[in-house]
Subunit: 341 residues, 2 copies
DNA sequence: GAGTCGTGACCAGGGATGATG
DNA sequence: GCATCATCCCTGGTCACGACT
């Protein structure tokens, strides 16, 4: 009955029970040498018996290492950020780091600031941010929060350490696939202008078209939502030359195909469509969607590796962007009358 | 040049600059009375000037309150858990609590244990778990980790504090909607047996059918994936009596509709389909899916409220389950030859 | 003198007590 | 006699040093 229910055991309790000094317990905890095996075992038994858990807070106080990382995630809980966060989280736990996550639906500067302050107050060793919107990153970059900052983003807005996914290459692969099928007028439904990923995908589309000497066309601006893809269908329908569309994400592609179907335009018979993201359900769209898949596992792990490198003063080796790969399904086909096929 | 770049200022630095004792600074920080306005202002200015941020680690050490909550999220980063986690996170931040999030793709007992230990080591005040699988909850319940445990789940597996969503009511509403349309044989595509949510939805389906005196049928067991819904289409097609299906989630509903279409079965002409979750894209399925929406914002906030109540020793008032509501779209219609319509 | 172990200071704050005006 | 402030000790660990074998 000497047990106290609320307060856990301390290192001194363990020391007393094992008949050693608290310092010896500390040695055992940290796997330091110069402890007799018999002593070590006595200590370990006392630890188990008391269900002793060392206080990370106390340790952090003196070592100045909290073993905590801050993660700021902005935007609606879509597949991409959630998946990246998950893998970052798992990688961190493998490295025995805890992650304080600050999620927010909107990328409001005031909220970002509040979240960042909460993180540094909890003395995280570094802050990692998964950002889509340019302004969100800028809000953080101008904050000077006293700890290293790592961004998972497609542009480096004055933030030194950054990791990303190969958005550009993915877009390029998508457009090249369409061109290889004989399409000469490949239109683009882009994401919102403030999105860095959208910008990269648009750049990949434009560059590829330019490289092939094909005529450019005006991108159609969406907002990632199925509704905006649906609206884009009207523009495509009004452009009889357009036989292929590269859409900046799967959700808009879904809306677009829906809108085309309503207008009696067949996919891929009349118009080929390529998406981006490879959501779990895209294989069951009508038709199954050809799309670009990102490797969020690599992205998340890269972010952790970079954060650890920055902390360890090993000059942050910028990892190569996480790869993207085209997944061919049934929403693309050779252009009718094209020499291909 | 007295500034040190790595180490932040301490309470003593602030005290010295303001010409007071560290205790007075502490009073200002905690908004305690008995500080002259002039003194308070001097201190506040010193704080601003030194960019002083109080160390939460040091504070936690003496107050035994870390202002940190642990959140364990298991399962693939689907919409539901991610959305719940987001709202919990925002609610916690509003209450000035930080959230250490431990996400894991699989609900492996060993991983759960490791995550929980990491959390208590970081001295979180309570652990909240978002669990789908029964076994995952059990693994945690048998752990005795020394801090309060709150579960966001559909069954209480020996865990005192629990909040949930009204899965049962949602399923009920879905089936009643189908019955009102004249359907007499409503089949069910269920989630995996180890899922508590799946069990509740199945229970709602079964109960409603039984209450109406309609004949029961064997539920078709899926695994949440579009592929399993696709497979279920074969069973439905082989059952000419079945004119309606309540599917336990939207992804399986998508696969099911795809499979039905392949077999020349029209939705909703021949078979009506209702899903569950209301993913963003369901409105653009073909046809737009009638489904059940959960309120994750309420769910997340309820979880925080409960956690705070448990911490405050206010006996945990079990909040009413977060509501679910049927969203009618175009995948359901009156049964042909039914007196309704 | 090398391997074991213990002693005291210290990290950055909060709380009780007492001193000062 | 009350508002205001300073002086200790306390939290739970780590680290530098010294003292035994």
């Amino acid at each position: 009955m000497t047990e106290d229910k609320t307060r856990g055991a301390t290192i001194f309790d363990v020391a007393r029970l094992a008949g050693v000094s608290h310092q010896t317990v500390s040695r055992v905890l940290n796997n330091l040498p110069n402890v007799r095996p018999a002593t070590r075992q006595r200590v370990e038994q006392a630890i188990a018996q008391l269900r002793y858990v060392p206080s990370q807070a106390a340790r952090a106080l003196v070592t100045r290492r909290s073993r905590m990382l801050g993660l700021i995630v902005m935007g609606a809980p879509g597949q991409a950020p959630a998946s990246t966060a998950l893998h970052f989280n798992e990688a961190a736990r493998d490295a025995r780091y805890a992650v304080i996550q600050a999620s927010m639906a909107r990328a409001d500067p005031a909220e970002v600031r509040a979240a960042a302050e909460l993180l540094v107050q909890q003395s995280v060793e570094a802050v990692v941010v998964i950002a889509q919107q340019r302004a969100a990153l800028d809000a953080l970059a101008g904050l000077e929060l006293g700890v290293p900052l790592v961004a998972i983003a497609s542009e480096d807005r004055g933030i030194a350490a950054r990791v990303g996914s190969d958005q550009f290459g993915g877009a390029r692969a998508a457009v090249e696939h369409l061109i290889a099928l004989g399409h000469t007028r490949v239109r683009h439904v882009a994401g919102p202008p403030d999105s860095m990923d959208a910008a990269e995908r648009l750049r990949g589309w434009f560059q590829t078209i330019a490289d092939r000497g094909l005529p450019a066309s005006e991108p159609i601006i969406g907002d990632w939502s199925p509704a905006s893809g649906h609206a884009a269908a009207a523009v495509i329908a009004a452009d009889p030359q357009a036989s292929a569309v590269f859409v900046a994400n799967d959700l808009m592609a879904l809306g677009l195909m829906h809108g085309l179907r309503e207008r009696g335009i067949a996919v891929p018979g009349d118009v080929s469509v390529v998406g981006f993201d490879d959501l779990a359900e895209t294989a069951y769209f009508d038709p199954p969607l050809t799309t670009v898949r990102q490797d969020f596992a690599v992205l998340g792990r890269n972010a952790l590796t970079t954060a650890l490198a920055v902390l360890g003063d090993e000059e942050a080796v910028v990892p190569t962007p996480a790869p993207t790969v085209l997944v061919e399904r049934e929403s693309t086909a050779a252009r009718v009358g094209s020499p291909v096929e």
